[in-house]
């Protein structure tokens, strides 16, 4: 019965195998591939939902199944489902490679699911690399441009550096504590953090993780990868991968005790730098994907505000923010994927006249952007509110004020996109209306409802997040 704890991972491994079989077919059928992937991804949602309440240990306690990990697994499954749902017209990737595309998405998801459960350093590292390698392959998988190859190389190089930091940090941690198990580390940590080796070890590990989350100064890959990778892959990196990154950062920062001023200071500096840098540079971007890359750097900063409080409420608020970010960011990317002609990149001015071409998509985009900017009553406002509230309870007033100023700056470039969608007239007179299928409509309504309803009534979700955060160790 114990193996049932591993159910989501098993399910997605099976799904990966099915997709692998499809990829070795001589005749590629993109419709069939899509339907299979979509069906399996939808089913996966139920599987992860079913296993949310499970808890226990596996593999000699290297693997921990609890509410924290299971909630994140559900979010990851949701992210995969979202991305697969908008792949019905996968024009950015050549038809022969569609099955591989789904296959690597799935393996990446498996890797991240294991990542949020792993409580042993080596298991953790292997899971991290499984997800990273999948992404290394997915990024240059784009048809045409050649830009993707540059982005792919850059991603690998910076990723390799980050991995080096991570491994070095882990070895330091092992050196001072003689254990690779996180719960045992957690017990020893109050003493270890005072030693230089312990502190630097933790810092190096976090550096490796911040790479995934694209926190300044480990963000250099993000703009190029967002821009270079195909739209669907970018969507996946911007949603599911960010959620996993938030989970593991919480896991490692949670090692430190609550009153660790040095760590708080470092995280504060990184958070402020991330927010400010991301928002400022985003202002001058023309390519929406690149713009959202910088916005994601800024959001990594907001999440850090919640995390650096080092207490349960702060972690819970960061978890809530992760979900909010998943939904809002996906809403924006979904519209971009739909608007993109032949899977190319979308510039801000390409959105001109969107509200006439498809009022529904324009509405989803607007709500998604309002959410990202933190305008009530969207889920994004609630997320920011909870994060700022957690920081306020710790007395970090200056940090909250900086965060709010940054939210104001970010409003500027989000509104530029909304202005393009609603107020600009397209250059050409005749732009055909966008066809929005029934399934996509349902997805749109669902997203709109989630953005607004969860913004108004977040308490139940936040309670779950709090319960999950208290399970951390």
């Amino acid at each position: 019965m114990k193996s049932l704890l591993f159910l989501p991972e098993i399910y997605y491994t099976v799904m990966a195998l099915v997709l692998f079989l499809l990829s070795v077919q001589t005749v590629a059928n993109r419709r069939r591939t899509f339907l299979v992937a979509f069906g399996l991804a939808s089913l996966g949602l139920f599987v992860t939902l079913f296993s949310v309440k499970m808890h226990g240990h596996l593999f000699y306690n290297a693997y921990r199944v609890d509410l924290f990990s299971q909630v994140f697994k559900f979010m990851l499954a949701l992210g995969l489902f979202f991305v697969v749902a908008i792949c019905d017209n996968l024009e950015g990737i050549s038809e022969r490679e569609h099955a591989e595309f789904y296959f690597f998405l799935t393996t990446c998801t498996i890797g991240m699911m294991m990542l949020v459960s792993a409580v042993e350093l080596l298991t953790f590292y292997i899971a991290l690399e499984l997800s990273s390698y999948s992404l290394y392959i997915l990024v240059p998988l784009r048809r045409g441009t050649g830009f993707d190859k540059e982005a792919g190389v850059k991603y690998i190089l910076i990723g390799a550096t980050a991995s080096a930091f991570l491994l070095f940090g882990m070895s330091l941690l092992f050196g001072v504590s003689h254990t690779t198990y996180l719960p045992e580390l957690f017990k020893l940590f109050p003493n270890l953090i005072t030693q230089p080796a312990g502190a630097i070890g933790l810092m190096l590990v976090l550096a490796g993780l911040f790479f995934k989350q694209a926190v300044f100064p480990f963000h250099f890959w993000a703009p190029d990868v967002y821009q270079g990778a195909s739209n669907q892959v970018t969507t996946y990196i911007a949603t599911a991968s960010k959620v996993a990154a938030i989970a593991i950062v919480i896991r490692f920062v949670g090692l430190a005790s609550e009153n660790n001023h040095m760590l708080v200071q470092v995280l504060t500096v990184l958070s402020v730098a991330s927010m400010t840098f991301g928002n400022l540079v985003a202002i001058i971007q023309k390519d929406i994907k690149r713009l959202l890359a910088y916005s994601s750097i800024a959001h990594a900063g907001y999440v850090l505000i919640g995390i650096l409080t080092l207490d349960k409420t702060g972690f819970a608020s960061a978890m809530f923010y992760a979900l909010a970010y998943l939904i809002m960011n996906f809403s924006c990317f979904m519209v971009i994927v739909k608007v993109a002609p032949n899977g190319r990149n979308v510039w801000v001015k390409d959105l001109a006249g969107l509200h006439k071409r498809s009022p529904l998509l324009a509405m989803t985009l607007m709500l998604g952007l309002f959410g990202l900017a933190g305008i009530p009553p969207t889920i994004g406002f609630t997320g920011k509110f909870l994060v700022f509230l957690a920081a306020m309870q710790k007395g970090y007033l200056a940090l909250v004020i900086i965060g709010m100023i940054n939210a104001t700056i970010s409003l500027y470039y989000y509104l530029i996109i909304i202005k393009a969608a609603y107020l600009l007239e397209p250059d050409e007179d005749e732009i055909p209306p966008l066809k929005v299928g029934a399934g996509l409509k349902i997805l749109n309504y669902g997203l709109i409802a989630a953005i607004v309803l969860l913004g108004i009534a977040p308490s139940q979700l936040f309670d779950i997040a709090k319960a999950a955060a208290s399970m951390l160790y």
């Binding site: 910076i158 550096t161 040095m262």
Partner: protein
């Protein structure tokens, strides 16, 4: 609760129905004109019935009846919402309901075929709701809220032909100018609230106020509250909006600017009369303002050529009379004049409306030449109204003015009486100037309107005719009910609160006063007859021989010019200029600078994002090194 208490039920119905009608029309039935007007008229008629019932039911009340529902509770201050049923409020309620119903019925004819017909009825309902809720307000907060809503409704109705520049300007002027007075009123109310603790009307009128607030403060707050009266009732120096407000449809003028809305100011004066009488200085101030207003506006009416303008100026001067009466302590005479004036002034406006509707002009000289006197019903009714306005026996105006003169006579300073009597001459003169011109045209034009008349004399004509006849008959008989009126209004209530009404006691000894007044009116009429009425009259007033004075009167004593000048000099080139500069330079400039700075720093920061991977990695390592160093140090 409602079933057990018919008074509460009636109050609720009276007040709520017009509001529901407004909502229904504005939201649902704008496309169907017939439905809209039926809803509105039905609502106001039911309200009228309820109001009459309340009027009768409340005749024996010794104490005012209050219904209150807490609306806002903040600390110790409770702001209630509800009804105050006493003689004064019920009297006003009936006046408002009667005039509003008649005007709405009349409008069926006047507004027929107007593209904004439904909108018109929606605004009429809004007005009726605001005015009636204000009338029955138990606290000054509710009173103030609906006072402003009345202002809003009148703004909407004056600017009803909003596509016309002058109409929208007039609406704006009415709104802004009355607001100036309202600011004073609001400050006065706040002073009362601060020092007395609540604003219930019964409480403010009670003797307890004088004990809690020092006397100078009572005077200040009374004068500030009186500013509201100055604005709403178009008293000097804020009287210039009312003549301009005639841009609205004529029934609107009849409703708002003669009978009800401007009377709201006087009503408030009467409503808080015991409070005002707590300060002799405030009463003196009111008396002064009323007198100036009365004389100034009478002179303006002497030279106007627009029929609605003449009635507008006469309204202002009659309001001046009411304020004078109240200021002199004549509570009953002021309210009585308000009542009679509501009747005959609505009558005059509605009659003018018939003429304007027929001849498409406002100039009564032109109307006259085109044969205005052939419209029998409105002509007769208008003459009755004019007789009442100038105070000729036995029409209602005679009795109410008489009672005002008595009130003024009882005042120790006789200068007010002299001014009042002088006003009688002017009133008679300008009124009959108009009537004689209309009746005895100098030369007749061959009218091409003849055929239209016959078409016009259908159901629409009589829809407009019947309200005239009703109002004319009321005007004829109302005066004889002065005793009953006084009895009803005073009851035991005012007596119980120790208001002197010595004015009424002096009634008996005033025979000489009556005779003087009558002869003065006769002089005024005679002058008008000599100049306009008799055969071969020049139809030029004696003022035309004094062009400077005529110009002074025609230009409204240069008040508008003065305001324009003050506005330009003080507001526009003073405050506005400074604030605009502040806005442009400091605020806009600052924000622009901030935006440019932000964007510029974005450009600078983006240099960090070069495409050289080795450089990127170098930055990562360098920063990590710094972090490590800071940990160690």
């Amino acid at each position: 609760m409602f079933v057990k208490d018919p008074i509460l039920l009636a109050c609720t119905i009276t007040v709520v129905l017009p509001f529901l009608s407004f909502l229904t029309i504005i939201c649902y039935t704008r496309k169907w004109e017939k439905v809209s007007c039926s809803i509105s008229i039905g609502a106001i008629l039911i309200s009228l019935i309820c109001a009459i019932y309340l009027f009768i039911a409340s005749r024996h009340f010794a104490e005012p009846l209050q219904y209150k529902l807490p609306w806002i509770i903040s600390g110790k201050t409770i702001i209630p919402f509800g009804f105050l049923v006493d003689h004064l409020s019920m009297l006003m309620l009936v006046i408002v309901a009667v005039i509003a119903s008649l005007v709405q019925i009349y409008s069926l004819g006047y507004m027929a075929g107007d593209p904004g017909f439904s909108r018109y009825y929606a605004f009429q309902s809004l007005f009726a709701w605001a005015m009636m809720t204000m009338t029955v307000a138990p606290s000054m907060i509710q009173f103030y809220i609906f006072w402003e809503l009345v202002g809003l409704a009148s703004y909407l109705l004056i600017g009803f032909y909003y596509e016309k520049w002058s109409a929208s300007q007039a609406g704006k002027k009415a709104f802004v100018v009355t607001r100036i007075g309202d600011v004073g009123m609001f400050i006065g109310l706040v002073i009362l609230l601060l020092f007395y603790g609540n604003l219930s009307i019964v409480g403010v009128n009670s003797a307890a106020v004088a004990k809690q607030i020092p006397a100078p403060l009572i005077t200040i707050s009374a004068i500030l509250i009186f500013c509201g009266v100055i604005g709403k009732s178009a008293q000097f120096p804020l009287l210039t909006w009312l003549p301009d407000a005639m841009e609205g449809p004529t029934p609107v003028s009849a409703l708002l600017h003669s009978a009800t809305m401007v009377a709201a100011g006087v009503y408030m004066f009467a409503r808080l009369f015991p409070f005002f009488s707590g300060s002799a200085d405030a009463l003196q101030f009111a008396l002064l303002i009323g007198t100036i207003t009365m004389v100034l506006s009478s002179t303006m009416a002497m030279v106007a050529r627009d029929i609605k303008q003449v009635w507008a100026y006469s309204t202002v001067s009659q309001l001046g009379y009411m304020v004078m009466a109240l200021g002199a302590g004549g509570y009953v005479s002021g309210m009585f004049h308000l009542t009679t004036h509501a009747g005959f002034k609505a009558l005059l406006f509605l009659c003018s409306g018939v003429f304007i509707h027929h001849y498409h002009t406002n100039d009564f000289f032109v109307m006259s030449r085109q044969g205005a006197r052939s419209l029998k019903v409105p002509m007769v009714c208008m003459t009755i109204g004019a007789l009442a306005l100038s105070g000729v026996f036995p029409f209602s105006g005679f009795f109410s003015k008489e009672s005002i003169m008595v009130a003024l006579a009882s005042h120790p300073n006789k200068i007010w009486l002299a001014a009042g009597l002088f006003g009688e001459v002017l009133t008679a003169y300008y009124t009959f100037r108009l009537i004689f011109v209309m009746l005895f045209p100098k030369e007749m034009e061959e009218t091409h309107h003849e055929e239209e008349h016959h078409e016009g004399e259908g159901i629409l004509y009589w829809l407009m005719g019947w309200p005239l006849i009703i109002l004319a008959s009321v005007t004829c008989v109302l005066g004889f009910f002065e005793k009953q009126f006084e009895h009803y209004l005073l009851g035991d209530y005012i007596l119980a609160h120790g208001v002197e009404h010595g004015a009424e006691a002096a009634h008996a000894g005033g025979h000489w006063l009556t005779i003087t007044a009558i002869s003065l009116v006769a002089i005024g009429v005679a002058v008008a007859w000599l100049e306009y009425g008799r055969k071969g009259a020049s139809q030029e007033g004696f003022l035309s021989r004094m062009p400077a004075i005529e110009k002074l009167f025609a230009r409204r004593w240069y008040m508008d010019h003065f305001y324009r000048w003050a506005l330009d000099m003080i507001i526009y080139s003073g405050f506005t200029n400074i604030f605009t500069r502040n806005d442009r330079r400091v605020i806009d400039g600052g924000i622009d600078g901030l935006c440019r700075g932000t964007e510029g720093s974005g450009r600078i920061a983006s240099f960090l994002q070069s495409n050289m991977v080795q450089y990127n990695i170098f930055v990562m390592v360098a920063i990590l090194g710094f972090v490590a160093l800071s940990f160690l140090g």
